[in-house]
Symmetry: none
Subunit: 171 residues, 2 copies
DNA sequence: AATAAATTGACTTACTTTGACCATCATGAT
DNA sequence: ATCATGATGGTCAAAGTAAGTCAATTTATT
């Protein structure tokens, strides 16, 4: 079995075993545990823990740094994947974005408030700038994508500021 | 948990617990309490209690010296006007936008969810595109402005004082 | 053989902690 | 009043810690 696969499994087992949709890891510890270059961890994250796979990651450098992996709520991955890839895509107009948001709200996939905010963020006003419409549409797609990912990972999001009851793992 | 985070929390808890928007501290006492260099206190202040975070600090040297931390409060209209004109302006970086959103959430001017969404919409990822950073910052300001106006227009909520904690600096 | 996936390591960036040295203030002595 | 002194806080740069990037190389797959 490839190392990357092993690491992937290891992380998933960890989340499974703790019934946790979120875990914090130390990149260097993991790397040392698997006797590999730290950057290999990044490779695993970027090939196996992407939004398309149903995960969102974030990190912090410096002393006390960490890598955080959040699993998006079940059933959402396919839905999200469809949304992101088919509906949003690489480029989307303000009109299409607005329609999409309203549809999602109607279907209760997102709240009305979220929809309003998304529409506001992708409106022609918000994106008025001296750049070609084509570029704007690309940016709009990215903005929308970012917001959808944010919403998708929310249910699993712990009430943050609280002194992390997030499980930090000794590897 | 990082020492700086611990100290930050300690100070916030202190203000919370005393229902005070203002608090005086002794730098050396704090440092001794946390077994750290006194200058670490300054580090915490300069990274977590800046005006951008919604605080203003002042101090007095010499015998009987102190460090004073004041949490800034404004009325809703003032707040919005200030936000749009002073804080957002015509151009804003991703970092500034993020801090601003978190500050608003912390003060319950907006919900934590809205803050997350705004941060997502103005993140470097959302605005990654082959255009100059300066242009991005202008666009970011417009997007943020649009979203803030959207939230401001929503009927005011009866401020549920749920201890909505906000969060850790996403990266 | 050609292409794709995985591995590695040198270099970069970000955040934190510490310590040496500087500035200011209150107070008491002159 | 003036000055000396000790008590505070401020600054800044170096060291420490930890993650990110990128491209060269190696190892599968097709």
């Amino acid at each position: 079995m490839r190392l990357s696969d092993t690491i992937e499994q290891f992380i998933k087992d960890l989340m499974q075993q703790e019934q946790q949709a979120e875990i914090d890891l130390k990149r260097n510890e993991l790397a040392e545990y698997f006797h590999c270059a730290p950057s290999q961890i990044n490779y695993v994250l970027s090939t196996r823990f992407t939004p398309d796979h149903g995960y969102v990651t974030s990190s912090q450098r410096g002393g006390g740094g960490y890598i955080r992996i959040v699993r998006i709520v079940r059933s959402a991955p396919e839905q999200l994947s469809y949304l992101l890839n088919e509906r949003v895509g690489d480029s989307i107009s303000a009109g299409e974005a607005q329609i999409l948001c309203m549809q999602l709200a109607e279907r209760k996939a997102i709240t009305a408030k979220d929809a309003q905010l998304m529409i506001a963020a992708t409106s022609p006003t918000a994106l008025s700038a001296p750049i070609p419409e084509a570029v704007k549409n690309v940016m709009r797609a990215r903005i929308l994508r970012s917001m959808l990912l944010c919403v998708a990972q929310r249910p699993a999001q712990p009430a943050a500021d609280a002194p992390s009851e997030v499980n930090r793992h000794e590897v």
